[in-house]
Symmetry: C2
């Protein structure tokens, strides 16, 4: 397998992206295609190694930044690392593409340059959601703010296959985020999606209330992208805020200072459990190629993990399986 990496995308590009790529090479069987400004890439690699085995460099002069408007950027910056990388997937010169760059541009670019899986109306972003038990997969986390019921059914199919093939979860349980567990609760979208899921042969266990999401009751959490993005960001915000508040309270008194000292590694452990960059990036499910969005603030470790999961994503015929299942279920009738 060949995995292409966008060296110029993300808050810590290019340094951490290169560092993570070099680290990943020791843990994967694939070779890497580093996409970006050749000079910059060569200079960064020289920090770590002179050995270019399993490393190919594809030059791309332009950079899509976070400030760029997605559609405009994709249309105008054809020689950007992101677009050149996506084209490698399109041309099957790469089996997977990883980028920590502009999420909107990556989504639009994937749609315009690589295209959708037949039968999938709307691709979705599917990051890991950390839970007490480990993690769930959250689909959609923000690619589609306004959804139709059949989009949620598609998210369920795509999430199911990714959970099985890449995350190696047996018989993944699928749940719908709702404001009550009974059928009939919630908004019109969720109610209609509930009926579609109920009638499917997926392992749909029903509604899950937001308060139970951190317990990890289901493996694949299905929702519209607006809700999913709020769930992901709020979880991050509450956890961060809670840690800050606890630390503040620990700063009073000497005994508490001692406790704070002891707690340092507890906090660290805990933080790593909540840090979804640990599990690699989020796949853009529904694209006719393995495209992975790494977190914008990815460090080398996050990039390394994104590449590792990207390899599993590319190796396991996820796209073919989605296409096959969607066709078998007749979900493509909605398109």
């Amino acid at each position: 397998m060949k995995i292409a990496v966008d060296i110029m995308g993300g808050d810590n590009a290019p340094t951490e992206i290169i560092k993570g790529s070099i680290q990943a090479l020791k843990e994967i069987n694939s070779s890497l295609i580093l996409v970006g400004q050749e000079k910059v890439i060569k200079k960064e690699i020289a920090k770590y190694t002179n050995n270019f085995k399993n490393i190919e460099i594809v030059n791309a002069d332009e950079i899509i930044t976070n400030e760029d408007k997605p559609v405009q950027a994709v249309k105008r910056k054809k020689n950007s690392s992101m677009i050149v990388g996506l084209d490698l997937v399109k041309k099957r010169e790469a089996d997977c593409f990883i980028s920590a760059g502009n999420t909107g541009a990556l989504l639009v670019g994937s749609l315009m340059r690589v295209g959708r899986i037949k039968g999938i109306d709307r691709p979705a972003l599917a990051p890991i959601y950390p839970t007490k038990k480990g993690f769930s997969l959250l689909v959609d986390a923000g690619a589609n703010s306004d959804c139709k019921p059949h989009n949620l059914l598609e998210f369920a199919v795509m999430g199911l296959i990714y959970a099985e093939k890449v995350l190696k979860i047996e018989k993944p349980k699928i749940g719908l985020i709702n404001i009550g567990i009974e059928k009939g609760k919630g908004n019109k979208l969720i109610n209609e999606a509930f009926s579609l899921l109920e009638d499917s042969n997926l392992n749909f266990i029903g509604n899950v209330e937001a308060r139970n999401l951190p317990e990890g009751l289901v493996d694949v959490i299905v929702c519209d992208g607006f809700t999913g993005n709020i769930v992901l960001k709020l979880t991050e915000g509450v956890a961060k805020n809670m840690a800050v508040m606890l630390k503040q309270q620990l700063m009073n008194g000497i005994v508490k200072k001692l406790a704070a000292f002891v707690l340092k590694d507890v906090f660290k452990n805990f933080k790593s459990k909540l840090d979804y960059t640990e599990y690699g990036g989020a796949p853009l499910l529904g694209i006719k190629g393995a495209v992975v969005k790494a977190h914008g603030s990815s460090n080398s470790k996050a990039i390394k993990n994104a590449i590792k999961y990207g390899e599993i994503f590319a190796e396991n015929k996820v796209i073919e399986n989605i296409e096959e299942m969607i066709s078998r279920m007749g979900v493509d009738k909605f398109e």
Copy 2:
């Protein structure tokens, strides 16, 4: 002022409701009307006092439970403590009604028995959302799963007035929950609501991302009831889960056990900060009378606080102010 209390509603009814009511009497100027089964009420009161000064009992034999379907319950259980209490508000025999009972039934009952404020299309549930700075008001937290843009404008007006008059916040800042801060982000509903809010003379500061909600950037958080309910419940779930995980990690080793011991009161402090029952109940804004929903699992302290805030709600012409502002803004054109 006279404040009516639903003695039979909530998980801890009637014991904790009566206890909280008796406690409240020492801290308020109003008298109380206790609504429910007279025998039960008298027996419970006898535990605390023989003094019936400022206490009136209104008998109501039936009880609406959490298992009752809202519309059915409101129509059939006309002699329930909830409906009798709402009728007291309707007839102006009580200035406020507090219930910890079935939320859906209280909402439907308020609409059917007390009615809406002129110009308000959809009443909303507005609980306190705990933040680092103190709290924000969250409107709507679940009364309306499907909203139109003008509903969100109404929520903003109602939240603004409640924040000013009851929570005593000067010039409350209003924000819209969205998945990005820039105008144009998010779904259709939020985008149209953004335009309405921007054109209003409210103190609208723009979108707020879910991750920043715990920081308390705004005083009034506006959203549809589906989103609001998820925000409230997820915050509860993440905080609870995080506390459990930290405690588990603290149970390893003797030094950590010491730290856990020291941390006990820190956790307790912290929990109380996150416990929104501390701030009393959530008003049903938009109803033509002061109706307050106390948390279903309210203990006596929560009930006492709900009554205290209920008194401020009733005393400060919140309803008249909402009606006046809605009319002045011409928002009633949407109705």
